[in-house]
Amino acid sequence: MVLIYIDHSEKEIKKSSHEAISYGAAIAKQLGCSSEALLLGTVNDDLTALGKLGASKVHQLNNETLNNFDAKVHASLIATAATHLNAEVIVFAHNINGKAIAPAVAVKLDAGIVTGACSLPNLQNGFEVTKTVFSGKAFASIKIETPKKVIAINQNSFGIENYELGATIEEVNLPIPTASVKVTNVNKIIGEIPLTEANLVVSGGRGLKGPENWGILLNLAKALGAATACSRPVSDSDWRPHHEHVGQTGIQIAPNLYIAIGISGAIQHLAGVNRSKTIVVINKDPEAPFFKAADYGVVGDAFEVVPALTAAISKMKHNE
């Protein structure tokens, strides 16, 4: 059986977990076994609808205290549940919480793990999974040598499939270990699209000259419904918050569309964004290295090009 861990926040299942369910269901199909999901805590989502993503059952440990994430407690419960349910493969989203617990679960189950996976396993020679390495500059095919396997799938790398299923819900009863982490405050920026979950990203670099000029970028992001990102010097200078910093030493993202404005395209920046499906570069320097990594390029002054692009997007949306 393939067991998929469902991550949630504010009583809502994360988009990356939807993708993980579809990914797990596809592995189950390869292995000829069932794909079932595991939920710790409570959510407002309709759990039977997870069948549409490929989960035939949802095992739920229905306890509000688990809505606070505690890596030690969560990893221990997942490992125990996986053992009870006899799961062969345990799938996580390689998102913030997934990174905190998937390796611990692997240790507890004596399972080999691949994090940052970006393909279905290749079963020809055992069980090999491709992952991104060198911050997106290369891939490695990793063989898992153990009977049990843990895989954490990169966000935005598999997509969601449609199954004509309704999931059944089964209660799990397990003793809950003492909390090791006390959550004292949660500060969510309301209405902002989290960068790692975004399909569309608009990003700005030093070419925008200063934080006072970010309005044109924010307007474009708003017209598109995109999340915002920036280059490292921009966040180092506090023009933008740290969590927007993408690149080799920031966040690595793979949205469908990445629009880079006034960013030169240094190798460390490209490492974090070059898995984006489509890259648009707006830069006034035709020699900027970013153009070599781009699908579409506009050589021009951002202060003219960006408002014009925003107007064109708004016009298109208006006509839809």
């Binding site: 890596a71 692997a106 080999g112 500059k137 290369a138 090791s180 902002e192 910093h245 579409y296």
Partner: protein, 247 residues
């Protein structure tokens, strides 16, 4: 307080990424090595700041790797830290590495074990989480702020679209990222002092790897950029919608 800081050696961020031996090995030819930036800039510097505030703090550095990792661990010692440990084994399997660190940690009593968010070469983000399972300790990942208050750590960690504050009683494990501290440049005094700081070399404990790397590959090169003139933004929108199908 006793802190163990995990230090990994990684290729410089501008290193050419190429492979040898039938694409099964990273080509180290001409590669410059650095301390993994997350380990250096965030985890190590924050440990040093804690020691600056409370000089009774002991900082041990640990790296798992062959003798070629010594310049890196010396550089880390030049930034700060009291002594270093190198476990003499090269492995690409996170579990093997975590077992080496855990074995050292079990023999001492560290209040805080710090790692970077991930290494910039294999990007596995596994070690902290694995240590928490092996040592049965609390773990907070992707922390961007840490304050000590007696034996309680107050930590801010990243969550999707925001931040969360956690309180944890030591001992614990923490993985660090941007915001935690600022990069420092080692000074001459630090570099001199690092030469005489103890660097213990330990034999590895036997551990079976759970995974092995079979093959590396490079992403397909982009086929070439399509240029659009600044007065053709409606055309660009059309291309994004109809050709790229991303909006």
């Amino acid at each position: 307080m006793n802190i163990l800081v995990c230090i990994s050696k990684t290729p410089d961020t501008t290193a050419k990424i190429a492979f040898t031996e039938g694409n099964t090995k990273f080509d180290e030819n001409g590669v410059q090595w650095i301390i993994n930036p997350y380990d250096e800039w965030y985890s190590l510097v924050r440990a040093i700041e804690i020691k600056e505030k409370d000089p009774t703090t002991n900082i041990h550095l640990i790296t798992v790797g062959g003798p070629e990792a010594e310049p890196i661990i010396r550089k880390a010692l030049a930034l700060g830290g009291d002594e270093a440990i190198r476990v003499n084994i090269n492995s690409n399997d996170s579990y093997v590495i975590a077992q080496q660190i855990a074995t050292v940690a079990k023999q001492a009593s560290y209040d805080l074990i710090m790692t970077g968010k991930e290494t910039i070469d294999y990007n596995s983000a596994c070690i902290g989480s694995m240590l928490s399972a092996i040592l049965d300790l609390p773990f907070v990942s992707l922390a961007n702020h840490l304050e000590m208050n007696g034996n309680t750590a107050t930590i801010q960690r990243e969550i999707e679209g925001g931040e969360e504050t956690n309180e944890v009683i030591l001992p614990m494990i923490i993985s660090c990222q941007k915001g935690m501290a600022e990069q420092r440049i080692p000074n001459m005094r630090g570099i001199m002092a690092a030469r005489t700081k103890p660097l213990k070399v330990l034999d590895p404990v036997a551990t079976n790897a759970h995974t092995s790397i079979k093959e590396f590959s490079l992403p397909p090169a982009k086929t070439g950029v399509k240029l659009i003139t600044p007065d053709q933004m409606e055309e660009l929108v059309k291309l994004l919608k109809e050709e790229a199908k991303v909006i």
